[in-house]
């Protein structure tokens, strides 16, 4: 890691471990995951349902429901502060202020009986010394910033009066109101139509550039990753299996799971491709976290698996400059899938 990069780091997560205690036993939702986010950088976390991407985000926010979940290991450092050692009152001063989060379904995150303007005002007055008049003016300014037309009028409205895209814009306005160093967006556009998704993604990337916010974008959509991120983490069954700069990852994926994901995506422009051409599928399904195989969790679905994969978990190794993969055979994989 170069010196410049170290100085710029706003979030540093090391060996994070989050477990859940359930009736069917203990499972490791996040198992030894490390990453960092720099100022103004977008880090994408990709994976399928149950891979631990959302729990990673909730662990960073200290929002994992306890019980049944608990962060049992590792460190989370935001702007030099060790978040895992803070008590709840101290955490509240950081959430919504130094870091905030937006979710997939804006309607469930907004208070249905409070005006949009009041909800943003609430955040501002909680974290900053402001009169209610100043806070309201700032709230309207935030709505203008996220390009909501007629922000003065919209601030007076309730969430149900806004469309899905507008609600997500209001959520972004609220999340960014205190100019946080870090924004976590968990599938922010999954519930939206594709034309609205394009609007919201462009907005997030644009604001992030203007404000210098670090962004963690959690998604299952490799298209969204390619269009927004600078660095990417691929997760599978609670573990980080690959990390690389976005161009590297798409040009030269090193983990068979990443390669499988890319190959199983139908491409929009399939000119000349025969309609009945088969997609490359990954056989089988994601294993249950309570019953993981001893070696690599992906081995049962992997066409390249050898005996060693089934016996020993491959450590995350640097396979190329700044490109990490947890696979015994990563070095043999060259080029796009």
């Amino acid at each position: 890691m170069s010196e410049a990069r170290k100085d710029d780091t706003i979030l540093d997560v090391k060996n994070l471990q989050t477990v859940f205690f359930t009736n069917s036993g203990l499972f490791r939702a996040v198992d030894d995951v490390s990453f960092n986010v720099r100022r103004g950088e977008t880090l994408a976390i990709v994976g399928e349902s149950g891979c631990g991407k959302s729990v990673t985000a909730l662990s960073v926010m200290r929002l994992v429901p306890d019980p049944p979940g608990r962060v049992v290991g590792g460190t989370v450092t935001l702007e030099g502060t060790d978040l895992l050692s803070l008590d709840e009152a101290e955490m509240r001063k950081i959430r919504g202020n130094r870091m905030s989060m937006i979710f997939q379904e804006p309607m469930t995150s907004l208070n249905p009986v409070m005006r949009i303007g009041d909800q943003i005002t609430e955040v501002l007055r909680l974290h900053q010394e402001m009169t209610s008049r100043e806070a309201w003016a700032k709230a309207v300014e935030m709505l203008r910033l996220v390009r909501i037309p007629e922000p003065d009028r919209r601030a007076q409205e309730y969430p149900h009066q806004l469309s899905g895209g507008m609600r997500q814009r209001a959520m972004i306005a609220m999340a960014l109101a205190c100019r946080p160093a870090l924004l976590i967006a968990d599938e922010p556009t999954t519930a939206l139509d594709v034309t609205i998704q394009a609007q919201i993604l462009a907005l997030i990337v644009d604001l992030q550039k203007t404000l210098g916010t670090g962004l963690i974008l959690i998604t299952h959509d490799l298209g969204v990753v390619a269009q927004t991120a600078q660095r990417v983490i691929v997760m599978y069954a609670g573990k980080k299996v690959e990390e690389a700069a976005v161009e590297d990852l798409f040009e030269n994926p090193k983990h068979p799971y990443t390669r499988g994901l890319m190959a199983s995506m139908p491409a929009v422009i399939s000119f000349g491709a025969k309609t009945d051409a088969r997609l490359n599928e990954i056989p089988g399904m994601v294993p249950s976290l309570t019953n993981l195989p001893p070696g690599c969790a992906f081995a049962p679905r992997c066409s390249l698996a050898i005996d060693r994969c089934r016996a020993e978990y491959p450590p995350l190794q640097e396979v190329d400059g700044d490109h990490f993969a947890a696979c015994w055979r990563a070095a043999e994989l060259v080029g796009a899938p």
Partner: protein, 332 residues
């Protein structure tokens, strides 16, 4: 694809819902869910129907199966108009059309075993009972990639992808000629999505039935369809051969839709939204061309006169006033 009489022919399909309000529940408005839609599906063909939420694509699907009663229009299956048929008269036709829904968690009875779910239509139509039914179900399980010993399991014991396979097996049970797929892979993870899409393609190759395939994911539709129709606010705005539509879209809405899909290639960054604003409400759809409120190339005529689908070369049809009603070539 054959040039015989189409398997399914839909003409001027309209479905309006009343919006009621006030104490007397008087009609205060009308939702124009589907507003004059015509298309046909040939034997062995897949017609993809794409559009954003609220464009009416699911209502079209349900009307075709007469799960909702169309307000007007004609639906012909194998040459028979099924719009006016009574419940009893519909029954023999029900065998030839089946549906697979989006959510495999909501569309399977949790108290029935997977085998009973797939066998039920055989019993209802009196095609097979007892031992014969069991054998047929086992065969169907094999066709969709499930094991016969899984027949005694209940839906909750299956994963999302496997549940969708059960739904497909149930749809196949009666040997239909048309299967309507309403967002069949939207609830599934990417790696499982590919498995189900491949299964649907394989089954069509073997059985030669037609799909009416509804999805919001353009990549999925592009992959599985032969022809694609694009819907906006209850109307088809463009319909063409798959390759033609994606290579040479002529309606500004189709162009914006295609440009909005994030491309999985970091070197092709292009995050520039092509259209602003939201889809207008179908309760009071805009006059003229429904897209005129968001269209970059809007002309006066678009605001007053509703464009109809016209041929813009070959089998490519578009409803747009630009260039004398043939739409806009993308690189013009």
């Amino acid at each position: 694809m054959t040039d015989q009489r189409p398997l399914l022919e839909v003409t001027d399909l309209v479905k309006h819902y009343a919006v009621r309000g006030g104490v007397l529940r008087r009609r205060v408005g009308t939702v124009h869910a589907v507003d004059g839609v015509s298309f046909s599906v040939a034997k062995g063909e897949t017609l993809g129907l794409v559009g954003e939420s609220g464009c009416g694509k699911s209502t079209v699907a349900r009307s075709v199966l007469r799960l909702v009663e169309p307000s007007s229009g004609a639906i012909k299956l194998n040459g028979t108009d099924i719009t006016g048929l009574s419940k009893a008269e519909m029954r023999p036709h029900r065998r030839s059309m089946q549906i697979v829904f989006q959510d495999p968690f909501a569309s399977l009875n949790p108290r029935m075993t997977a085998g009973d779910i797939v066998g039920e239509p055989l019993g209802v139509h009196g095609l097979a009972t007892g031992r014969a039914q069991q054998e047929r179900v086992a065969e169907l399980f094999g066709q969709v990639g499930l094991r016969a010993d899984q027949m005694k399991n209940y839906p909750h014991q299956f994963s999302g992808g496997q549940r969708q396979r059960i739904c497909i097996a149930r749809a196949l049970a009666l040997g239909p000629s048309l299967i309507v797929c309403d967002e069949p892979v939207s609830a599934l993870d990417v790696s499982i999505q590919a498995q189900v899409i491949n299964l649907l393609i394989d089954l069509q190759r073997k059985n030669d039935f037609s799909y009416l395939f509804i999805a919001h994911d353009l990549a999925v539709v592009a992959h599985i369809s032969h022809r694609v129709a694009v819907m906006y606010l209850g109307r088809i705005v463009e319909i063409a051969d798959k390759t033609e539509l994606f290579a040479n879209p002529r309606h500004p809405y189709t162009q914006a839709l295609l440009a909005s899909v994030p491309v999985a290639d970091p070197k092709a960054k292009k995050l520039a939204p092509m259209i602003d604003g939201d889809v207008p409400s179908p309760i009071n759809p805009p006059s003229g061309c429904a897209f005129h409120t968001r269209c970059r190339y809007v002309m006066d005529r678009c605001k007053v006169e509703r464009p109809t689908l016209v041929k813009a070369g070959g089998q490519h049809e578009v409803a747009c006033w630009l260039n004398d009603g043939t739409g806009r070539a993308e690189n013009s």
